[in-house]
């Protein structure tokens, strides 16, 4: 049922390679966070990192066979969306909660 040692070898290799790849992509996105010329650039890059971390959580759930981490990824998606909206409001108005 879950991804454990009974899986074929190519599935484990694919999951491991995808985890490494998405981790490297997060590091590459942080280049735009640091160097981005404007604030919306940084927000967009952080949003991309948040979505990548959601993918990492699902891949980790696949690797370990623990379905709990799918729920963790859902919570991370919610937090990323709220952070994006909060920063977008903050950039315009200078305050989020009046």
């Amino acid at each position: 049922m879950t991804a454990t040692s009974s899986d074929p070898v190519f599935l484990e290799v694919a999951i491991d390679a995808a985890l490494v790849l998405v981790g490297v992509l997060c590091v590459l996105c942080s280049y735009r966070v640091i160097r981005g010329p404007t604030i919306p650039d940084r927000v967009v890059a952080l949003d991309a990192i948040a979505t990548n971390v959601v993918a990492i959580a699902v891949l980790f759930a696949l690797q370990t066979g623990r379905g709990l981490f799918v729920t963790v990824s859902l919570v991370l998606a919610i937090i990323g969306f709220i952070a994006t909206v909060a920063v977008a409001k903050f950039v315009i108005e200078g305050e989020v909660i009046e």
Binding site: L11, R32, I39, P40, A48, T51, L59, G67, A88, I92
Partner: protein, 143 residues
Amino acid sequence: MVVRAAVITALIVVGSFFLTVGTIGLLRLPNVYNRMHATSKPTTLGTAAIFLAGFVSFGPGSEGLTALIGIIFLLLTVPTGAHMIARSAERIGVPFLGSVTWPDESAVRDATRDAEERSTPASEMETDSDSDSKSETDDHRNE
């Protein structure tokens, strides 16, 4: 279950490809709006593919349904967030590239006036529709 493992592997490969495309677009494109266009759509597709891999792996039990809910949530929230960042970028004055312009005020005003004329008789709309809708859009712009 070799077939299920093959499907999961294919979905993971597709998702990794789309995530890579989104990151390359984020690094290479010249403008905030272009970068946003490059990240939001491929990143959503890639993460949705990986969520689908989770659904195939865990089956239609509780965790698989959570993965489907995650796909729906991503499809709802990522365009909303990108829209809000684009609007705030335009408000704080990030310039557009080349001949790109913000959607024209007069076009929006004409569209709303046409809709009003279609729903109400044209004779009584002649006098006040112009000034009202114009001041409305001006207020919205200066907000």
